[in-house]
């Protein structure tokens, strides 16, 4: 081209020689297209989570545990507080059976041509099927862990977002309260509250609350009263940083109210942090519950929990060690897989949090 044949005005100028270039072919143009499909936040996190073998393994274990505790009570024909009986008569020989052992009465019953469901984990000292007790114990533990985390999440989210968003004097007062609760030794306070609430709370028999039992309710109150502070601090910190973003300013300038901004703009942006810390809260709640049950402050008597089963197993430790092994293994398995899953979620959903 003649343009290029023009001699350079200055010897050092970057005048390009266009004849050295050629237009891109259609195929080459296509290479510039975005390679990956667009994904949502959740799908992207899940993809990364499913690449982590430990997290997948613990997810499978957890699903198996949940399937067991849901399905087992339908299959096993014994109740968790049912004292075993054969042909309508109390089976006094079914005390402390080893796993898969039948009592004399049951053996006779089977010899008559009837079938009898095996005692997979044996029986306890009160002639109750131990497998179903462990299953119900795991149910209680998971239930407490899950709901305690939800309660902590709701209270922490509410107060944390108010404190972070409103700021000023409200924030100052809330943060002082949080500071004090945070420095209270949690376990001692939990024990103290459980001792007191156990005595103070009474419910009408037959109501939903009464069927849960005072101990369970007091445990939820305790979790709600003490453990929200961590979540509250976390969400407040998140909000303080997100609040300064331009899109919040934009929303404000077109007249969006505080509630809408918190709901639509701020909370979705700290969702990953919230999910992760809730997930990590569950195993610690299960830990606390099993401690409380172990020292006799957990769920009320006929209802088993993994901690109270382990505590009860101490009596006959010498002769029936498997009674300790089963609930103990269940606690360890559940907490371990929840921990690993929580760690995996942290890595998958928020790389910033990785330690």
């Amino acid at each position: 081209m003649e343009n290029n044949s023009v001699p350079k005005k200055r010897p050092f100028s970057l005048q390009l020689d266009l004849s050295k270039f050629e237009p891109a072919t259609e195929e080459e143009k296509r290479q510039q297209d975005v390679m990956s499909k667009s994904t949502t936040f959740f799908r992207d996190g899940m993809r990364r989570l499913l690449k982590n073998p430990l997290a997948v393994a613990s997810l499978i274990v957890l699903l198996l545990v949940i399937a067991t505790i849901v399905i087992a009570p339908m299959i096993v024909p014994y109740g968790y507080e049912e004292i075993l009986s054969v042909n309508g008569r109390r089976d006094k020989g079914a005390k402390n059976l080893t796993p898969f052992e039948y009592s004399t009465a049951e053996k006779k019953y089977i010899a008559q041509g009837n079938s009898r469901f095996p005692h997979i984990f044996g029986t306890d000292e009160q002639c109750r099927d131990y497998f179903i007790r462990v299953v119900y114990g795991a149910r209680v533990s998971l239930f407490v862990g899950f709901f305690a985390s939800i309660i902590v999440l709701i209270i922490g989210m509410l107060i944390g977002s108010i404190s972070g968003y409103v700021g000023g004097r409200v924030d100052l007062i809330i943060m002082r309260i949080v500071d004090i609760i945070y420095s209270l030794p949690d376990m001692l306070m939990v024990i103290l509250l459980s001792v007191v609430l156990k005595e103070v709370l009474t419910f009408k028999t037959g109501s939903v609350l009464a069927s849960l039992g005072t101990n369970m309710i007091s445990m939820f109150i305790v979790f709600g009263a003490l453990y929200w502070v961590g979540m509250c601090r976390l969400i407040r910190g998140q909000i303080l940083s997100i609040r300064e973003n331009d899109y919040v300013l934009a929303a404000k300038s077109i007249g969006a109210g505080s509630a809408r901004i918190i709901r639509k703009h701020i909370l979705p942006n700290c969702l990953s942090v919230i999910i992760i810390s809730t997930a990590l809260q569950i195993p610690s709640a299960i830990f606390t519950e099993s401690y409380l049950s172990f020292i006799g402050l957990g769920v009320s008597a006929p209802m088993p929990s993994l901690g109270s089963l382990a505590n009860a197993a101490r009596q006959g430790l010498q002769s029936y060690p498997y009674k300790l092994i089963f609930p103990a293994a269940a606690i360890c398995l559940i907490v371990l897989s929840l921990n690993l899953l929580g760690d995996g979620m942290r890595d998958a959903f928020d790389p910033k949090l990785r330690r």
């Binding site: 209270l184 024990i191 007191v196 005595e199 103070v200 382990a310 060690p321 360890c332 690993l340």
Partner: protein
Amino acid sequence: MGRYIVKRVLLAIVTILAICAITFFLMHAVPGGPFNREKALSQATIDALNARYNLDKPLFTQFIMYMKGLLRGDFGVSLKNGREISAIIGESFPISARLGLMAMLVALICGTVFGSLAALTRNKLPDRVIVFFSTLFTAVPSFVLATLLLLVFCIRLGWVPVWDANSTNYILPVISLSAYPMAYITRLSKTSMLDALGQDYVRTARAKGVSKTKLIFKHALRNSLIPVITYAGPQIAYIITGSMVVETIFTIGGMGGKFVSAINNRDYTLIMATTIFLASLMVVATLVCDLLYKVVDPRIQYD
């Protein structure tokens, strides 16, 4: 710095006061007075007892009197056996403190050693073994570990005699108490050691030919200990909590065991005194650790 210390000390004092108030008022919310026995007492006796222990006064006055007593080190008397609570604490606390300190030392030393070892052999066999066990032990509650240890080593193998009041064999309780903090410290010091090894000053030291031992111990390890110190303070809380069940399992006459039996006996004054004592101890320990942290790492901002 001065302002920070004052602020933290004030917060600690407020916390301790809050603990005393919460404990006192919660315990008095429990229905049934301390003199509710199986055998009914005559009204005159109850009145006399109430007057003797100031229970006829308004609740707030009682609280003030209780606090005054606390300042003099007077925790009142146990409801169940009438003994001075300060005497009970005086004889049981040293046992718990010794047990707790031993467990803490074991956890700190083994934790940092294992953590550093894992960081130095990253992705090799020792690292994998250490990570496996530290993950496992963060999922085992101390009461499970304690009971299993008791079962295996005392009952089945008979290597360690079952604990009695005069025994000085702390091996099993210390192991079961220190397992969880040890696992946690291992994970913590592994990450901070890896962090320290990646720092510029370590590269500089290596470039100028510092020997590997000196590099690890003088440059990397010292700096990796900082997060461990912050963790150690609140950890005392865990040790105390864990020691409640561990002491109960091994029937050690320490404070933890006393606390659990006080709960089971509904001995409210003893529960109150033990809670206040242990809680204040934890608050002070956390405070000391936080202040120490600032001294060790001058980079930390004081606000």
